[in-house]
């Protein structure tokens, strides 16, 4: 066993774990905001931006670690798949961080109106589910858990459906409100928030696909999830002896 290689792989793993924790923290923060008063203090915004910068720094750090491992240690087999998956995760996690910040910014522009509450409840549920997808996709990678990866892929369709329903609802509710610029502005902002949550779910799907690539050596991007989930060897991790 090459100790330097093992350490390098352990380091990139720890950085992916830390980056994931920061991203999940941002999502939890958004969830807390949506569950309570949507007023957002400057202090909270500043903290959010600070964490976002840390997420960006982790992306660059992981990218450098990935380059070094490939050039210096020339990993093969599961180690190669692992570091490639780490690199893919770092890109997806960084995008989730960007979108979380965008959601926070839009939330802070929303003005409290009675007709907003029904949307906020759905957004909160949608975000909760999306956060679970991000968490489980990351856990599937870190804990070699195929079931979590498949669960994430399956739930992307659910989020897409909620997104479509929300857009229809927004269109329906905004009819006749074109004279009311504040209400219209709120609807547009809600549409942006919903779209960003949907894109976060897409990123979680990408993480799950990277996890499956690491665990099974198979690229399932653009594959049919119903076909994947029925495979017996996708029920649990393991390698043929």
């Amino acid at each position: 066993m090459n100790i330097k290689k093992e350490n390098a792989i352990q380091n990139i793993r720890e950085d992916v774990e830390k980056m994931s924790e920061l991203v999940l923290g941002q999502l939890r923060e958004l969830d807390n905001i949506l569950s309570g008063d949507i007023e957002i203090s400057e202090e909270k915004k500043n903290h959010f931006r600070k964490v976002e910068r840390s997420i960006d720094e982790y992306e660059i750090k992981i990218s450098n670690e990935f380059t070094n491992i490939i050039s210096l240690h020339k990993p093969v087999a599961s180690e190669l798949r692992f570091v490639i998956a780490c690199y893919r995760l770092s890109i997806n996690l960084e995008r989730i961080g960007d979108m979380s910040l965008k959601i926070l910014r839009i939330l802070s522009e929303l003005k409290q109106q009675p007709n907003l509450n029904e949307f906020i409840d759905v957004i909160s549920n949608m975000l909760g589910m999306t956060s679970s997808m991000v968490e489980k996709s990351v856990l599937s990678f870190l804990n070699n858990d195929m079931e979590y990866a498949v669960w994430t892929l399956k739930n992307d369709d659910v989020i897409d459906e909620i997104n479509n329903k929300m857009i229809k609802k927004i269109i329906k509710k905004s009819k006749g409100k074109f004279g009311d610029s504040q209400t219209l502005s709120n609807f547009i902002n809600i549409k942006i928030i919903v779209s960003n949550i949907e894109r976060i779910a897409d990123q979680a799907t990408n993480v799950a696909e990277a996890s499956i690539y690491y665990l099974k050596g198979e690229d399932v991007r653009h594959s049919d999830i119903s076909e994947i989930e029925n495979r017996p060897d996708y029920k649990s991790p393991g390698k043929n002896d």
Binding site: M1, N2, K5, V76, A77, S78, R81, N240
Partner: protein, 283 residues
């Protein structure tokens, strides 16, 4: 529609407004014929089994790498491919080694004929040190009685060119083989193996005694040579096996644990033992 990307031909087909199916492929199409094949090959030294029941194809115009920890039987297997164990005391070979469908271990087959068809390059360069570069290359031909000077000149130039050595030595073909650098000596050994126009080329750790630059030249050479030969290479250098080969066989304790496309084995080996060996967990 056709375009070039890094020297690889990319074909994009089926583009139409009605059916926008895009088929992009950068893989070379078509299967390669099996030039050589072992069937249930066993090699024993006395009572000790060094190679156990191995069946493995060697494809034409492809490079097959044999990898595995020391003592796993890969060199023994390689030497069985051109009957070199005939000369080893206590060694016994059972099973079949087919070259173009014919068993080379058939008692009617002359081993010298077989070694003309299946060339071998060894771990250490093996030029005759005092013999001239020219005579080193054509030694095999002279051995079988060919004396035609024009023919020998032609073969010498061709073999040295194929071994990417001609330009470096064309002005000193009468200098002794021992005067060349290690890398040049190994290419001279390859030229000697090529001079007899073999069908298969066996290489037993051909770069293990060379510096990185010379190794790189040999690797480039292997890449060129595979256009005309079936090549089997034994190497301890896993990265080299990955770079030069199209197929890889992983040997362990005399058994062939896994055989398949190198690309697949290096990214997703089917067997746990292969995975452990490739990632350095043993061996």
């Amino acid at each position: 529609m056709e375009t070039m990307l890094k020297n690889k031909k990319i074909q994009v087909t089926g583009l139409s407004k009605e059916n926008e199916v895009v088929n992009i492929t950068n893989r070379e199409n078509g299967a390669y014929p099996v030039r050589m094949e072992t069937r249930n090959l066993n090699v024993k030294y006395g009572k000790v089994s060094a190679v156990k029941n191995i069946s493995l194809p060697v494809y034409n115009e492809r490079v097959t790498a044999l990898i595995g920890p020391s003592g796993c039987g890969k060199t023994t297997f390689l030497r069985a491919l051109n009957r070199m164990h005939d000369l080893t005391r206590n060694a016994s070979v059972t099973g079949e080694v087919l070259l173009d469908g014919n068993n080379i271990y058939n008692p009617k087959v002359n081993p010298v004929t077989i070694r003309r068809k299946i060339g071998m390059v060894f771990q250490k360069p093996t030029p005759f040190p005092t013999m001239s570069i020219f005579n080193n290359v054509v030694a095999g031909l002279k051995l079988v009685g060919i004396r035609n000077k024009a023919l020998l000149n032609e073969v010498c130039e061709k073999a040295l060119t194929q071994a990417a050595l001609f330009d470096e030595v064309k002005d000193r073909l009468n200098s002794p083989g021992g005067s060349l650098s290690g890398g040049q000596q190994q290419r001279l050994s390859i030229a000697r193996a090529l001079a007899i126009e073999p069908e298969v080329l066996l290489m037993d750790e051909p770069t293990s005694s060379l510096d990185p630059q010379s190794s790189s030249k040999i690797e480039d050479l292997i890449h060129e040579l595979k256009k005309n030969y079936a090549i089997v290479i034994v190497t301890h250098n896993l990265q080299q096996a990955g770079r030069v080969s199209d197929y890889t066989g992983f040997f362990f304790l005399g058994e062939l644990i896994e055989f398949g496309e190198t690309e697949k084995m290096y990214t997703n080996p089917a067997h746990k033992r292969t995975e452990e060996y490739l990632t350095g967990k043993f061996g």
